[in-house]
Every structure is written in C-alpha cells, then in structure tokens.
Subunit: 289 residues, 2 copies
C-alpha cells in the first residue's frame, strides 16, 4: 500500500505552501503599511495563525465526532503546569442546552447557531478528589496561584484546539461572557466543586456569508520587548487606535478604541457581572487567596 | 517567477503528510493502548501538536531574528479578550541577564542554556497609561477578572508561539517558576506598574542528545465531558497514574503521581514562593479584588 493510500488525509487543507504575496498581505492587514514585521520563516501553520479571525456565522455543515476528537486530542497535547492537568472541556451540542446557556454567557446571537459550544473549565476537581481519597488537606487549592494555573492550563489547551480547528478549515470565537454568571453556568453544566468556566468557545464551519475580517493588532514595538520592558507605549497606542477605528468604520461602526478602553476600566459598570468573579469563584471552591 | 521560487519556504519542515502509522503511534504514547482516542482528521499541524514535548536540551544552532519575528507575530495573531491586548512578551538573549534571572525563576539548569528566554507578561500597563492620560480612574484594573484576562491573553499568545516554533522544528518549555519571585523578576525586567510575569519559556533547537519523550495524558473520558461534567474521575486517575509512573520509571525515576499531587496541594510548602502571589501581584499593581 502506498503512503498516500495509507494516510488519513481526506479532510486536510493543510498542504498549501504560502507564497510571499500571501504572507505580505497577511502582515499588512494585521499591522498596516508602516512598521509591520517582515520575515521569511513562514509555513502553512504560521500563515494560518496570522490569518486567524473570529468566526460568528456558521454554515450548516456539521462538525463530526471524528473531527471533534482530533481537535480535543490536540488540546490535550498542550503543555500543562507540573503534570497537574488542571483543566477540562465540556462539549455542548444539544440545542435546548445551548439555548438555556445563551442568556447566561452574554446572549450573543451566534451562540446557539454554532454546531458545537465548548466550555473550557479551570479544574481542580480531580486533584481535590485525590486529596479527599487520601484524606489529605487541600489548602494549596485555595491559593490564587492554583486558580491562575488552572485558567492558564485551560487557555493553553483551548488555543491548541483553536489551531487544530483552523487547520481543518473551521472557525472559532472565544466567549469571555461565559464568566458573567459563574454559579448559574456551573449549575447548568453540573460542575463539581473546585471548578469554574474559564471561558466558552463556539466552533463550526464558517458560513460563505461570514464577512468577519482579520483584525488589526498593535505594532510589535509596544508588545514585543527586548531584554527589558520599554514603557513608552503611548505613540504606539495612538497609531493602533487609528487603524482599529478605521477597521470598524469600514463596517459602518463608529468606534473610539481609546475611549472604549478607558471607560471599560474606569469602574465596574462594564464588567457584566464579572466584577464579582472573585466572590463567585470562592463560592465554587476556587478561592484566590 | 514560479510560485516555488516566490515562496519564503526554506526553513519549512511543515509539509510532511502524516501516515496512519505515525498518528496511531502518537496516540499510543499519549494515551496507552486502552481507551486512546482514534480519528481520521489529521494533518501536519495536528500531528505536530500531538507530538509536542518540552525541550530542555538545546543545540548550538541560533534562533535567528527572522525566525523569532515569525514566532512572535504568530503570538500576536492569537485572540485577545475584547480587543484589550492585555499581554506583552520580553525577549531575553543576553547571557548575563539569563544568568541573573535564572535563580529567580526556579534555577533549572537548562534556563541559561537556551538561546532565547521569553517572559510572557500579564499586562495592564498600556490600558492604565491610556486611563492616566485621559484622567480617568482605573478601578476595573483592580478586579480579579482583569488579572485573569491578562493571564489568559498571555497564555493564548504563548501557545500560538509554541505551535509556530514547533512548526519550524524548534522546541520550548514553559517555566511556571517565573512566578516564584514576582517583584524581583519584575525589577530585573524593568516592568512598569500593572504588569507581572505570567510565566517564562525557553526556546531553541532541540539538541540531538535531548532524550525527552512525549508525556502521557489522562484519557479523554475524564477530561472531555459531553453536555455536562461527569465527576466520576477516580478510575480514570488510577489508570493515568499507572501510565505516568511507568513513564518516569523508564528514566529510572521513582515517581508516584497521586502522592505528588496530594502533597503539592496539602499545604503551602510546595509552592516555591507562589503561595504569596496574590500579595505580590497587588504590590505590582495587579490586585485580584
């Protein structure tokens, strides 16, 4: 049997080698014309990462169990802090459950339209279960360090899932709104103590009518520092604001990024319930001491 | 000019199409023979994710500026919460600085041997700078939600960098020890207020003498849940303990994973300074209220 016949490759759009034009265009849309990074070290994986966009409009095409297994196995292969595996993921496909969860997690109109809704869980339940069986205390589980490790473990896994999904041609959107009502969301997902939803994610095949574009990013000069942090960021933030405001203007949306940021952080009003996340996590058995 | 001549592909090992044997072997080493996931939806990106291992022994080959730009631009293309871009990265190449930082971040012997040491920063400095210029309060920056978003943003970017680096043939290791001495590490990196090191990372080309193997993972049945969380995890944890203990025994290391987990969480003693992370982050202007 030839290698080609032996290869499980039928769903693989991964082998297109980027041209220089594609690379230059991807960098231009991310960073504009002035000061965009340039490099030669590109391949299909990296080009696809550069072209990432959040997909909020899905086609009717289903995500098969086979594809989902591939994506979530890639997630499991991500690094995990000190062999702790402090994360889980919950796959929601049931339409009634999606509709039940939607108002709890930000109520964005695309949430129940996605074939798959994923909940990435900061998860100390398994470690707590081992401690309980061994009749040992679980004092370390109350530390902010433990909670942060669980959120970071969940994020590493989720980003691996993102890369895997996009390598197959699918699209995703992260849903921070999944932290808006932590206790109610935990109850709907039957979460045990010592776990909480870190964030949600919609997954599916992009609709041909999806017009979401790749979003601009700040220039590397204010994000990537060399040897030490260079705190002189305001000129770079002004340049970014121009590009991101122009980006939204193209959709006909008036947007002032700097006002959006300053008003977001000015008080609790723009946190949609997440201003009480510390208290909610404590109630769920994930204190941040 | 042909597409091939036009393509920036010289450093690209990305085009090898996985065979079924490679896929089956990757899943076997991760999950053992019983209960390992099986799927057809594989491609070069996904196979490489499955084959991820932490690399702690590097060859003399340098990481070029061009390659590093590619890796960190891929990092910048990751999703970021609500257009906030609450992360940065610091590239440390200077040997004296690596040696200065090493005892602060866990003192593992490979840290100063890596050609590149990266510090992934949970970063609210840019948002705080905008607030200060606009003479607006920064009350939201004191919330646990804001700190968690910054850590998650840093993690998504770092995992994209990991995937990009591995797609070029390099290897990485995450360094949670970079949280052991937050204030001293921040001072060494000249971090401004409202920032902290989320974690470190070594980056380089694997040494031909590196013998690190792909590490086992728990079976999906206790990590991947369907519709709701299934809290019955102890049988799966027993099965995982057998495999991970056998894995370390192959290196001649006696390891009892369950005791390691229960003793880690039993008290503060095994947190290497990170038991005071909440206080340290508050000192650095990242409270968790």
């Amino acid at each position: 049997m030839s290698e080609a016949a032996d290869a499980p490759t039928s769903q693989n759009p991964d082998l297109h080698q980027p041209t220089r034009d594609e690379l230059v265009e991807a960098l231009r849309v991310r960073f504009g014309g002035d000061g965009a990074p340039a490099f030669d070290a590109v391949n299909p994986t990296i080009l696809r990462q550069l072209q990432h966009r959040s997909v909020r409009r899905f086609s009717d095409r289903d995500v098969t169990d086979d594809q989902l297994r591939a994506i979530l196995t890639a997630a499991q292969a991500a690094s995990t802090s000190s062999n702790q595996h402090s994360w889980s993921v919950i796959v929601v496909r049931d339409q009634a459950r999606k509709e039940q969860l939607k108002p709890l997690i930000g109520n964005q109109p695309f949430i129940d339209k996605a074939p798959v809704l994923l909940f990435w869980i900061a998860d100390l339940h398994r470690s707590a279960a081992l401690a309980e069986r061994a009749e040992r205390p679980f004092a370390g589980g109350a530390l902010l360090e433990a909670t942060l490790v669980a959120f970071v473990d969940a994020a590493l896994a989720a980003q691996n899932a993102t890369v895997a999904a996009e390598s197959l041609g699918m699209g995703i959107t992260y849903i921070g709104g999944a932290r808006n009502h932590p206790e109610e969301t935990a109850a709907a997902l039957a979460l045990p103590p010592h776990t909480a939803v870190a964030f949600g994610m919609t997954l599916g095949w992009p609709s041909p009518t999806d017009r979401a574009k790749i979003r601009p990013r700040p220039l590397p000069e204010i994000v990537v520092h060399h040897e030490q942090y260079d705190a002189d960021v305001l000129p770079g933030l002004d340049a970014y604001a121009e590009r991101i405001n122009a980006f939204f203007a193209e959709y006909g949306r008036e947007f002032d990024w700097q006002t959006y940021i300053t008003e977001h952080f000015a008080d609790d009003a723009d946190f949609f319930g997440r201003e009480r996340l510390r208290e909610a996590l404590r109630d769920l058995g994930l204190p941040s001491d």
